[in-house]
């Protein structure tokens, strides 16, 4: 019996006059090629954005399996929606719109399934003296983030982790800029309060 081998993506060789890898120009060329049905270009887009999408989904859903599923669905939806994508729109907010929508519906499903979301073994491990402080800090952040209302969490991540502009965030969420600023501000206030209090107390 043969074990399934890990799959790998092959990058097509770049022509000599190709724009710089990872540049906006290169991305829009890729998007245009994928729109014409170029499978390799689409594979490159997946390659370029997979990790970022996974990061966002993992912070939104706090569960790797759900996050991977959400990212996979997102790319299928992106593929399906590509013919309707217009170039005057930026690709990134367009991608994040689909991803955020998918995470929102997954999050709603998860909330219906259980009122209480468990995050690993944080309660026991928090008292473990050997426990690394950096990891404890990360876990606190994860919990603080999970405690935020989803739209605040989403806005905070887009702004401070994904570095989207407020214009891009408006395109990605459909919300107005002032509403988004308010969400980010509330998220920051809540995170700051929780993390300076909780973590400060634990450290003392």
């Amino acid at each position: 019996m043969t074990k399934p081998r890990p799959l790998q993506l092959i990058k097509p060789a770049a022509p000599p006059d190709a724009p710089e890898p990872g540049s906006v120009a290169e991305r829009s060329l890729l998007v245009a090629a994928a729109q014409r049905g170029d499978v390799r270009a689409f594979a490159e887009l997946v390659d370029a954005y997979y990790a970022r999408c996974l990061r966002f989904a993992m912070h939104m859903l706090a569960n790797r399996g759900d996050a991977e599923e959400a990212v996979q669905d997102t790319f299928v939806r992106v593929y399906r929606a590509l013919p309707g994508y217009e170039e005057r729109e930026s690709f990134e907010p367009w991608l994040f719109r689909i991803l955020a929508n998918r995470c929102r519906s997954a999050g709603a499903r998860e909330r219906r399934r259980s009122e209480f979301v468990e995050f690993g073994e944080v309660p026991e491990r928090a008292n473990d003296r050997r426990h690394d402080e950096t990891i404890a800090w990360r876990e606190e952040i994860t919990r603080a983030l999970a405690a935020l209302p989803p739209e605040q969490r989403e806005a905070f991540l887009m702004r401070h982790v994904e570095d989207l502009t407020y214009d891009d965030m408006a395109a990605a969420t459909g919300a107005g800029i002032s509403a988004l600023k308010m969400r980010v501000k509330r998220a920051c206030d809540a995170l700051r309060l929780r993390l300076t209090e909780d973590f400060g107390a634990r450290r003392d």
């Binding site: 019996m1 043969t2 499978v39 997979y50 990790a51 790319f75 980010v184």
Partner: protein, 202 residues
């Protein structure tokens, strides 16, 4: 009021920013799912085209039958058992085997040395069908097939390396059957029947 980006927020953002490690197999599955979507779109288009042809054909047959009935004065109707009654009275195994018809279709999607291959099984009354083989460690939870509600055809797209693969179908978690349309494998795993699939170079 704090500034939006004070030290705490910068630290929080920095802790959240590292990109997660990506499992290359998981990333490749995205492309397999996309290839499957591509297939579905293509089939949907074909089905619509076929439905139009069938509709046109049926209209012609109905018109001819009407003419014949008028001429002969004795209209006759073919006895027909609804498909639902037929399949309900039949155990899954017999149903799946009796109407088993499979087709494979290698698509032109080239996924980094992998080729996408679609496996198809007709099993209208099955509730769940998966394809198992050397490529998924014979795990029936990995490659579940999806059913077309109109045709009752179960299909799934696999990304396979070029070479020889052995596979089989698992119907309703209870019936193990090989693909009747493909050559039988002499060396199937677990001593259970399997079929051979040859994948050419992409």
């Amino acid at each position: 009021m704090h500034d939006e980006t004070d030290e705490t927020i910068i630290r929080i953002a920095a802790a959240l920013r590292p990109l997660p490690e990506v499992d290359p197999a998981r990333k490749a599955r995205v492309l397999v799912a996309v290839a499957a979507e591509r297939e579905r779109t293509r089939e949907r288009r074909l089905r619509i085209a076929r439905a139009w042809r069938v509709a046109a054909g049926t209209a012609a047959v109905a018109a001819a039958a009407f003419v014949a009935a008028v001429i002969l004065g004795t209209p006759r109707r073919a006895a027909e058992v609804p498909a639902s009654a037929r399949s309900a009275s039949m155990p899954a195994r017999r149903d799946a085997e009796s109407v088993a018809a499979a087709a494979r279709l290698a698509t032109d999607a080239k996924l980094g040395g992998f080729k996408t291959v679609q496996v198809v099984l007709r099993a209208p009354s099955a509730r769940r069908v998966s394809v198992v083989g050397d490529f998924n460690a014979w795990d029936s939870g990995t490659d579940e097939m999806s059913r077309d509600p109109v045709t009752g055809l179960w299909s799934h797209t696999l990304a396979l390396r070029p070479g020889r693969h052995v596979y089989a179908f698992v119907v309703d978690d209870s019936v193990w059957m090989r693909d009747p349309r493909s050559p039988e494998a002499a060396d199937a795993d677990f001593g259970r029947p399997g079929s051979v699939l040859l994948v050419g170079q992409p």
